[in-house]
Each structure stands twice: as C-alpha cells, then as structure tokens.
C-alpha cells in the first residue's frame, strides 16, 4: 500500500514550490537573485518544477562584483541559455565608475558591502517588487528570524522589529510603490538538506564545489584562491592544494577547504561530518558578531 505522508525533503520541496508560486501570483515584477552558488541553483531548479510546463515567470538577477570565479560566470551563462530566461546583470564595477560607491582599501578590502547599493539601484531601476533569494535561516542568527516574505521599506531596509506575522500558509505580499519584498523559499532548509537535495535530484553545480587542484594562499584561516584581484602580502606564499569551496562568493574572500571530495556522494558525506559552519570560510562574516545583521538592515541579501 502507498504511504500518505511526505519525507522531509519532499515536504521542503513542496513548501518552496508553494512560495515560488505565491511570488508569481502576488507580485507584478519579481526577479530571482542568482549568484551562481548552490542555493540559487537549487532555487532555479525548484522554479522550473513549480511552473512546468510553462517557463518560470522570473528573470534572473546577478549582482556582479567583478571579482568572480570565471567558472561561476560560465556556469551562469550556460544555465541562462538552457532555461531560456532573461538575465539582468547589476554591476558593482559600474556603481564604482559612476561614483555611487567607493572601493574599500586595505588588506582585507572586498566588494561585498558595495553590493547592497548595486542591488538596491538595480531593484529600483528595473521596478522589481520582489527579489527571490536563496537565504536560509540556519546560515546565521540574523537570518533565523527572517520571514518567507520579508518586507523592505522604500530605502530597501529591513526592520527586524516590524516584520509581518506569517501564519499557516497565508503570505501577505502587499506593499506600497517604491517598497519591495525579499522572498526566501528555502528558508527552512539547512546546508545538509541542500546537498541531499542536489544529490537526489542530480542537479548540475559549478566545478568549484568539487575537489580540484588550485593555487592558493593561507589567509584568515582558510585557503584563498589566487586571482588577478588578490594582492599578496610579503609573508604569503603561493601553494598548490587540492581544495573545494563550500560556499561561493567573491573570489577575493571565499576560502576553500582541503578536500578529496570530487563527487556529490563524497561531498554529502563530507558535509555531514563538518565541524565548522559553512560561512566560517567567508571573510565577510568574520567582521564581528553582528556583521550579517548590520548588513541586512542596510538592504543586503
């Protein structure tokens, strides 16, 4: 006899599809924020399922820091053409060139914080009323209180004290002109759930997630990849290591871990025994205990 209950991955999938369909139904001009990382790849996979046989009714928006892994950009372009969706690129370089933001200086300078302005400008310019993101509540304590539909005021800011209560499956996406929402369909997924789902669905992900040989330097307790944007300190030496990345962000700040996991099965096994959080290798989150909360209030992802 057939069982009439879902396992946890099916239930998470069903919930995410429900939210993606609510976004399509409640908003005029939603976009899906696509970084080339595993969470946004899972989102596009879910969106494909949610609207099959129709195309997903969202454009993809990529906030491009200019400091990318070349692998990420190739992957993005292939996915866009395979899915037949529109791609909007919001460029941090352009924000710098037009004087909207100023590049950070110093050893640990990154373009991470600059993304917020670029993102908010692109949301305004494209009249986006909902930006769908791959944020998960298990990532960070400021995200633990995030809603599925997260309201942003006309400055794009998040007010943790004034979020709408979300009961049952009743989501309220009403907002005034100039305001917008962020929607987080995979809020309830953990890193492990994402990997188990990628394995189960056999979802294509960038090669960066698999163990590979790469030139790196040891900085901030992780292996930072060598790139045109990285300024070496006198005491740093380039080494060749077999590494893989747990999350993908700016090439200048995303640290790899030493690993032999070169298949999805091995990655799932490795993640299951990890003793560090995945953001432990992201320099942007090491800037103090409330780094994420402070950035979120400003309008970060």
């Amino acid at each position: 006899m057939q069982k009439f209950y879902l396992n946890y991955l099916d239930e998470l999938e069903s919930e995410a599809i429900f939210i993606l369909r609510e976004v399509a139904a409640q908003f005029q001009n939603p976009v899906l924020l696509f970084s080339g990382g595993k969470d946004s790849i899972v989102l596009t996979h879910l969106a494909k399922k949610a609207f099959y046989p129709a195309k997903m009714p969202f454009a993809l928006m990529h906030v491009d820091t200019g400091h990318n892994f070349p692998e990420t950009i190739n992957f993005r372009d292939q996915l866009v053409s395979a899915f037949g969706v529109n791609l909007i690129v919001a460029s941090v370089q352009q924000s710098i060139d037009t004087g909207r933001v100023t590049e950070e200086r110093g050893k640990n300078a990154t373009r991470n914080a600059l993304q917020t302005t670029t993102l908010l400008d692109a949301i305004e310019a494209n009249k986006v009323d909902c930006a769908i993101g791959g944020g998960r509540r298990d990532e960070e304590k400021a995200r633990a209180k995030e809603r599925f539909f997260s309201h942003r005021d006309d400055f794009g800011q998040w007010n943790p004290k004034n979020q709408r209560p979300e009961l049952w499956n009743l989501l309220n996406g009403k907002c005034f002109d100039g305001e917008h929402f962020r929607a987080f369909p995979i809020s309830n997924w953990t890193e492990m759930d994402v990997w188990n789902y990628i394995l189960r669905e056999n979802i294509q992900i960038p090669s960066l997630y698999f163990a590979h040989e790469r030139e790196v330097v040891w900085r901030n307790d992780s292996w930072i990849p060598i790139s045109d944007y990285l300024k070496l300190e006198p005491d740093e030496t380039i080494q060749k290591k077999k590494i893989r990345f747990r999350t993908l962000g700016d090439i200048t700040i995303t640290g790899g871990i030493e690993s032999d996991a070169d298949t999805l099965e091995k990655i799932v096994d490795e993640v299951a025994t990890m003793r560090q959080t995945e953001r432990g290798n992201r320099a942007d989150d090491k800037r103090g205990d409330t780094a994420m909360e402070d950035r979120k209030k400003q309008g970060y992802f």
Binding site: F4, Y52, A54, K141, N172
Partner: protein, 417 residues
C-alpha cells in the same frame, strides 16, 4: 538518511527563566547540531560573562537589539536533525508579546513544548501557553517539567505539577499530552535517560519527539485544493494546456476523480496530475502539484477544486476566534482585506461576541475593543462567500488573516468556529 524520514515542527513556549533557551541549546548540543566555530564563540562569551563551563542558552542568542535588552523579540527558527527525523523549532518568546508570537509559531506546528519550572509549578503563563496550543489545535503537547535537579528529582513534586496541569487543562481541547521530568541544564531526560529519576518510566524528550505519530496530523479525508496560479505555457505541444497549480490543503486526489469547482459549482474530471515534470496518478496533502481537467472551465486563483460529495460551506457571514496581532486596535466596522487560502475578499468585523481572558479562560462580553494580543470570538461579514471548513476539521481551509487596507499590514489571524 532513510527515505521515510519525516519533518516535525514544534514550538517552544516558556516564561522568562524557566530554562527554555537552555533546553534548546541542550537539544542542539547533544544532537551534535552545533558547529565548532559556534561553540568557540559561545565558550568565549560564557567566559567573558563569568559562567562556569558553557552557557547553553547562548546558542539561541538572537539579534543585537535583543541581546542589548536581554529579551527575545520575535519567533526564531532553529534546525536539527537526528538519524530519525528533521526538526524545526519555532522558538517563541515568553514575555509580553507572547500571544502574537506564539500564535504565529503554533500555526504550523505538529507539537507544542511547554516548559514548567518545577520550583514554581503551573503559573499563569503555563495556562496561557496551553490555551494557545489548544486554540491553534496543535496536535501534540509535551509538558517538560524542568529544573528537576533543583527539587532533588522529587517524584512527589512532579506528580503534583502533573495533577495540577491535568486539572486546569481539562477545560481545553487537547488531544495528546505527555509529561516529562527533565533538567535541561544537566541533560536529564533530554537526549539521554536520567540516572537520577528511576521512578520515571517514560521516554526522554528527544525519543518522544522522534517517535510521535505525526503522519495523521494532516486531514486526509476532505479533499481541498486551492488554485494558486494557472499555468498556460502556450508553447509547442502545450497550446491548449491549462494547469491548475497549488498545494493540496487536505485529502487525496487521483487521476479520473470527479471534481467540483467552487464557487462556480461546475463539475469535471481530473485528466492529469503533475509533480514538476513527472506525471503521477495520485497526490495528497501537503504536496505541491498541478492538475488538468477534462472540461474547459473558467478557473482562476482563489477557486477551490473539491469532490462532489464532500464540500466546504459557502458562506458570507461566520464566526471566527480572532487573535489581534497589531498595536493599532481594531476599528469598529472598518473594512479589511481577508485572505483565506489563495482567495482574497473584503470583510468587516460585524460584532465582537466575547473576548477571552487567557489567564482565567473567562469570557468577557462587555469589552468590545480589540487591542494587541486580544483573543475574541467575532462575527465577520465578507463581500462574497468564502469556501470554509471549521478550523477543528481543517487547519488550512479553516484559517484566515485580516490585512489593514491603509497600512497593508497583517493585523489579525482567525480560526473558523
């Protein structure tokens, strides 16, 4: 992980200082859901604040604003997994805004965890929490009698608290309640069986959570499917395709089933059911699917597909138990937008029948003003009929929210009586 592992959602409620944060920290820590960098950060903070060892409560420490004020503002979600199940904790604060937050956390929960400090026994807050769990029809309730180490693990103290709880809760609508004596601080009966309480024959908390029978929590009898959006690909091979997409609220649907579409009342047959690209023969709640029907009927978002012999009521005036969630009080005879499933209409509060004092469970028919955290039975009138079930029968099709038309905020949540 096993293919059949389920997801269990539970709320935690407790008053300040009854050890709720410590208990959650204990569950996360003992189930090995804490990472080394989190542990290091908590160890450092514990040391700075002069704690011996690690303060488990710090694992659930929240936002900067909250830490500064030493309180929890909002529902926070936590996750842990055991080889048997995945768990989502909706951690709700115990202070003054309890109702709004507890109701939010409770609305999707399979189980409510209620904490009682064994030194103080049942207090007003315990009654509030139990009342809300019963009002929101959380299917299972687990009462943790905590800090047993501080009452010498006394069976007698435990029995008295259980008796007191049984006494007042007999007035409530609770189907499944169990009691567990624990010490969150020392780990007694949380993950591992306590060596200090031989007299307790039941399971520790985690084992209880892992084995609760939850697959019957969702109604599988009354078939209800609200249309979220209509899929019209208009591409080659799918020119006449109209797929009705939604998440099944309750019941089971099969290809070939006779169905009735509400509110129009037209009948048809299910020709296909899809889960993504895959065609399936049978679907049940809470699956997200899309269906096609045999006849070309005008169906749009908010319509409901049901079975001819089992239909919700279509009604324009009805009573709900309403929780007011906003600091702006209800305005007499003001119009609100009402959301029920994917359906949206206008509504007004016709009458406040009575308010409930959630400390004493007494009804008050004099006070007509609905302020933040008020719980009241009210009569609503809508511009068009809604397709309703009672909340007792169906949490998904028996629940509504009200949205203020001026601020666009969600101001109230209601359960159809």
């Amino acid at each position: 992980m096993l293919e059949s592992n389920q997801l269990l959602r539970f709320t935690t409620a407790g008053s300040v200082d009854d050890g709720k944060s410590t208990l959650i920290g204990r569950l996360l820590y003992d189930s090995k859901s804490i990472f080394e960098d989190q542990l290091a950060s908590v160890e450092a903070t514990s040391k700075r604040r002069g704690h011996e060892g690690i303060d488990l409560a710090l694992f659930t420490d929240g936002l900067k604003d909250e830490r500064e004020q030493g309180i929890t503002i909002d529902v926070a979600y936590r996750y842990f997994t055991t080889p048997k199940r995945k768990f989502i904790i909706a951690d709700t604060p115990g202070h003054i805004q309890y109702t709004r937050n507890m109701v939010t956390g409770a609305s999707t929960a399979n189980a409510a965890l209620i904490l009682i400090d064994s030194r103080h026994g049942v207090i007003e807050q315990t009654k509030r929490h139990a009342f809300i769990a019963s009002l929101l029809q959380i299917p299972h309730m687990i009462v943790c009698i905590n800090k047993m180490d501080l009452v010498d693990y006394s069976e007698d103290t435990y029995n008295k608290i259980v008796a007191h709880f049984e006494e007042f809760s007999s007035k409530l609508d609770i189907k499944d309640v169990r009691f567990i004596p624990i010490s969150a601080l020392n780990g007694d009966n949380v993950v591992n069986r306590s060596k200090n309480m031989d007299w307790y024959q039941g399971s520790p908390l985690l084992h209880t959570l892992e084995t609760l029978h939850i697959s019957s929590d969702i109604n599988k009898i009354d078939a209800r499917f609200s249309v979220q959006t209509v899929l019209r690909p208009q591409s080659e091979g799918f020119l006449d395709y109209r797929g009705y997409a939604g998440r099944i609220s309750s019941g089971i649907y099969r290809v070939g089933d006779e169905v009735t579409v509400l509110p129009s009342g037209f009948s048809s047959k299910i020709t296909s059911i899809n889960a993504g690209e895959i065609e399936i023969q049978e679907a049940f709640a809470p699956m997200s699917v899309s269906m096609t029907l045999n006849d070309d009927i005008d169906i749009s978002r908010g319509d409901m597909i049901v079975k001819p012999n089992n239909q919700p009521v279509m009604i324009q005036e009805f009573d709900v138990m309403l929780c007011w969630l906003h600091d702006q009080s209800a305005k007499p005879r003001a119009k609100y937008t009402i959301r029920h499933t994917s359906n949206e209409k206008k509504a007004l509060i016709k009458e406040v029948v009575y308010q409930i004092d959630i400390d004493t469970y007494a009804r008050n028919t004099e006070n007509k003003e609905l302020t933040m955290n008020a719980i009241a039975r009210v009569t609503l009138k809508t511009t068009r009929p809604l397709m309703l079930d009672s909340y007792r029968d169906n949490r998904m099709t028996g629940s509504i929210i009200l949205i203020d038309e001026n601020t666009l905020e969600t101001v109230a949540a209601g359960m159809v009586v």
